[in-house]
Every structure is written in C-alpha cells, then in structure tokens.
C-alpha cells in the first residue's frame, strides 16, 4: 500500500512537471480565491474592532448639581452601577472636574481670569456611565431619569448624543452586512474559478485516465495522483496568498486611510487587527490557509474526476 501511495505521488509530480502552465493557472486561481477570502475576513475583523472601539468610547455623562456632596455622589454612582445594563460608572469628583476644566481651557485667557475671580469651584460631580451594550443607552437613560435621585441631577448629556449613537450603530451594522454579503459572493466566485480550472486540468487528462483504467488501475490508483496534485496546488497557493494578503494589508496601512476593498474600517484598525490578531494567531492562520487551500484543491479534483472513473 505504501509503495502504491509513493507511486501516486510520483505520478502527481510527473503530471505537474509536464503541464506546468496549467499548474500555474490552478495555483493562481486558488491563491486568488484565498486572497480574496482573506482580505474580506480582515475587513470584517477590522470592522468589529472599529465597532468595539466606538462602543468603548460612547458613554452617558450624568452631571450632578453642584450642591451634591461626595458621599451622596458616591451613593448615586453605586446605584447606577447596580443596573444590569451598566458595565461601569466612572466617578469624577468636583475637584477632578475642576482641574480638568482648567486644563482644557488653559489657553483661554478670559475664562481663566473669570475662574480665578470666582475662586470657588462652580462644577458638580460627573458620573460617566458605560453600558455593557451600546444599544442599552436609551434604557439606562430612562432608568436614571426615573430613579429616586433624579432631583440631584443637573443634566444628562444623553439627549445630545442620542442621534449619533443610534446612527453609528446602524451604520456599522449595515456596513457589516454589506461586507459579509460581498465576502460570500467574492469567495463563491473565487471557489468556482478554482473548480473550473481543476475541471479543465482533469479534462486534459481524461484519455490518460481511460488508459490507466484499461491497464487495470484501481480508482484509488487513478485518482490519487490528482488528489496529490490538488494538495500540492493548495499548499503552494496558501503560501502565496498568505504572503500576498499580509503584503496587501501592510500596503493599506501605509498608503491610505480608507482602503479600497476595506470600506468602513480605517487603516488604524487594520493595523490593530494585524498586530493583535494576526501576530498572536499566526500558527492557526497558516494552518487554516493550508487546510483551505488543500480543501479547495482536493474537493475540486475529486468532484471533477468522478465522472471519468465510471468505465
């Protein structure tokens, strides 16, 4: 058995050497298929990071009245933090708020002077409320407004943010949808191209398949060389597409803020994606590339050889 397997590998290499143009075409189409799939996956991942990032930045600021003291402020913070939708409440004391305000307006001479004149701290406590899920902000907003401490609240900045938050949520979601649809379509096209290339390869070998069967070659013996061919094509294509995808993503990072194929995601997120995700998971990525390449090569070989094995 081992001898026969060795022989089928030998035949596969022989086939490739004799039809290297077809081999190049096949490898090329598998590599392009993988490349397109890779770029689409990178795009999706980067979009996810973007979404996460935006969600991290969004929060509701609750401004308490200046007369509310530290103890009461902390009590309110604890109450809000106990809402199931709330992830965290960031407590900004009067003093911190004042310092920050002074810093922010440092180059505004008039304001600085006015502040000095007042002498006293006119600002109240600020509570920055962070939701577990950005869709919960309206609910949190309502809860805060109806809670027992509502008379201690000066204002909530949610109303002014409201539009922006829901718009962003929607935009990201729809762009994500488009990207997924695009990815599926492009990947399908690429896979079809691979299939037809390999079908052509096997069609050119149909006479040989017939002869092999005639001499007494078993189905295993006849089809195994084509399966090996598929594996070899898949491996080479995976190496090429991995290198090409990495190069392309690097290029995007260096040369533009909105990559052509990478719609919404900005270069920064692709970079972040490359740095965190890719580098940490390189072994899995290379393995999955190889598996995808081999899968493409082998299944299309098997599917297209099947009809010649019947005789």
């Amino acid at each position: 058995m081992w001898l026969q397997i060795k022989r089928t590998i030998k035949f596969a290499i022989n086939n490739i050497a004799h039809n290297y143009w077809l081999a190049i075409a096949t490898i090329g189409s598998i590599a392009i298929a993988l490349f397109i799939i890779n770029v689409q996956i990178a795009n999706l991942m980067a979009n996810n990071l973007l979404l996460e990032d935006i969600q991290n930045k969004v929060n509701i600021s609750v401004y308490l009245k200046p007369e509310v003291n530290d103890e009461a402020g902390r009590e309110i913070a604890r109450k809000i933090e106990s809402y199931p939708e709330v992830e965290k409440v960031n407590y900004v004391s009067k003093e911190e708020a004042f310092e920050k305000f002074k810093k922010d307006t440092a180059n505004n001479q008039v304001l600085q002077e006015a502040l000095d004149e007042v002498g006293d701290n006119p600002l109240g406590i600020t509570l920055n409320v962070k939701a577990r899920n950005s869709e919960d902000y309206p609910k949190i907003n309502e809860k805060i407004k109806q809670d027992t401490f509502q008379d201690k609240i000066e204002s909530i900045n949610y109303e002014e943010y409201k539009g922006i938050i829901s718009n962003l949520n929607e935009e990201i979601r729809s762009s994500q949808k488009i990207t997924i649809i695009l990815a599926v379509i492009l990947s399908l096209i690429a896979v079809l191209i691979t299939f037809s290339t390999i079908t052509i390869t096997i069609y050119t070998h149909r006479k040989e398949i017939e002869i092999m069967k005639l001499v007494g070659g078993s189905n295993f013996f006849v089809s195994a060389p084509f399966v090996w061919e598929g594996i070899i094509y898949g491996v080479i294509a995976a190496v090429i597409s991995t290198a090409a995808s990495y190069g392309y993503l690097q290029y995007i990072i260096k040369n533009s803020s909105d990559g052509s194929l990478l719609s919404l995601s900005s270069a920064r997120f692709i970079k972040q994606f490359l740095e965190t995700y890719l580098i940490r998971n390189w072994a899995i990525i290379i393995l999955s590339q190889l598996l995808a390449g081999i899968f493409l090569g082998v299944t299309s070989s098997l599917i297209s050889i099947r009809k010649y094995l019947k005789i």
Binding site: L3, N14, H18, E208, M212, V215, G216, N219, F221, I311
Partner: protein, 227 residues
C-alpha cells in the same frame, strides 16, 4: 478459457442489436483471428473480455468467473490479467517508453526490483532496447505499437486482446507486429486478434472467426479471410 454463452448486446439509445446470441469458446494457447466488416461487432465482442462493455443478455466467462458479473472493485485485478493493444496504441504521452511499460507493473503493485528486471527484458523482446527513453511522440507508429505490446505483456497475461493493432501501420510494421504476436502465442499466451486485413489473416492461417452484423457466420480451424 474464454466462453461466450448466448451473448447479445444492445447499446442504450439504440434499438438494433450489435451482437446477436453469440456462443463461442476460446481455448488456452489458441491464436484466434476475428474478421468482419467494420461495424460487424468485433470490438464490442472483445470489450467484453476486459469488461469495458457488458452483455445485455448472456454471460462471458474467464475460466470460471463471469466477467459480466464482476463488481467494480474486482475489475482492476481482472484487467491486470489481460493484455490489450489497440489501433491507436493508447500510450501515456507524458511517459517515456520505459515508464509506459513500467506503468502496467506499478498499477499491478509489483515491486521496484521486479520492475527493474522485467521492463528492460520485455523492451528488448519487442526490439526497442535503445529507445527506452524516447517519448511516444518521438516514435513511429510501428514503434509505438511495440511499446503498447510490451506494456500489454509485461505482467505476463494469460490472454492478449488485440483490436486492429495494425490498422494504422505500414506493411513492414504490420508484419513485425504480427511476428511478435505469433512469438508471444508460441510462448503460451492466448491471442485474440480482430482485424479486417485480408493479408494478415491469410498469412498466419490460424483459427478464423468471421462475423457479420453481430453474428458469427463462420469458424474455421485453419481459415482464410473470406468475406
């Protein structure tokens, strides 16, 4: 060793029978020539020996086994016991002479040692010793047919099926191939040769089976071509 028992054949999508109730026996070591016009059914009859076609009714035996009942898994082993040569040689274009002959042994699972020993020997027998590294396209028709013959014989088959092997060859090559077939037969291999070359049939003067329109019309032990 080969027996046709009430064999009829109708190709699908055709209503006319190509073979009609054929009964025929071929003994070991025989040299049988099958003659008849083109379309008489000679190839169809031969295909049943190496199981490329199955009878619509009736049975074809190889010794005790019914060839037409062989499962798809057993076909390769069966074919490895039968040598075949054809008008169009059916060589693998990407393999040289040596590789084409060795291929039949590789398929049959022979060891590398056996291959290294038998392949040069059979190439020598068909007279292509100094061409074993040529590719089919670099050879004449006669030489290609000798390669095909070498490949058919290298596994020492009990029977050689030759379907118009000289159909594309000049008279000299034709005669060389015929000499080889006779020699093989002398060494003990049964030969079944289909041809419509009158000269060939008359010169070898062996058992002649004449076919017409799917029927055997004559079976002579030392026949002549007479259609």
């Amino acid at each position: 060793m080969i027996k046709y028992h009430k064999v009829s054949k109708v190709y699908s999508r055709q209503d006319k029978a190509v073979l009609k109730d054929i009964n025929l026996e071929i003994q070991e070591r025989e040299f049988v020539t099958l003659v008849g016009y083109s379309g008489a059914g000679k190839s169809t009859l031969l295909k049943m020996i190496y199981a490329e076609e199955r009878p619509t009714s009736g049975d074809v035996y190889f010794y005790k086994t019914k060839i037409n009942k062989l499962s798809r898994r057993k076909l390769p082993k069966h074919r490895q016991q039968i040598g075949t040569v054809f008008q169009d040689y059916k060589l693998l274009p990407q393999k040289n002479v040596w590789q084409n002959v060795a291929f039949a042994m590789e398929v049959a699972g022979k060891s590398e040692e056996e291959i290294a020993e038998d392949v040069p020997q059979i190439i020598d027998i068909v007279g292509l010793k100094n061409k074993s590294h040529k590719y089919p396209e670099e050879l004449s028709g006669g030489e290609q047919q000798k390669v095909a013959l070498a490949r058919a014989l290298v596994n020492r088959p009990k029977i050689l099926v030759a379907d118009e092997p000289t159909g594309n060859l000049d008279p000299i090559s034709t005669w060389e191939i015929m000499q080889l077939l006779l020699k093989i037969n002398e060494y003990g291999t049964t030969v079944v040769l289909a041809t419509h070359d009158k000269d060939v049939v008359n010169r070898i003067a062996r058992r002649v089976i004449s076919m017409d329109k799917g029927k055997i019309i004559k079976d002579d032990a030392h026949g002549r071509y007479c259609i």
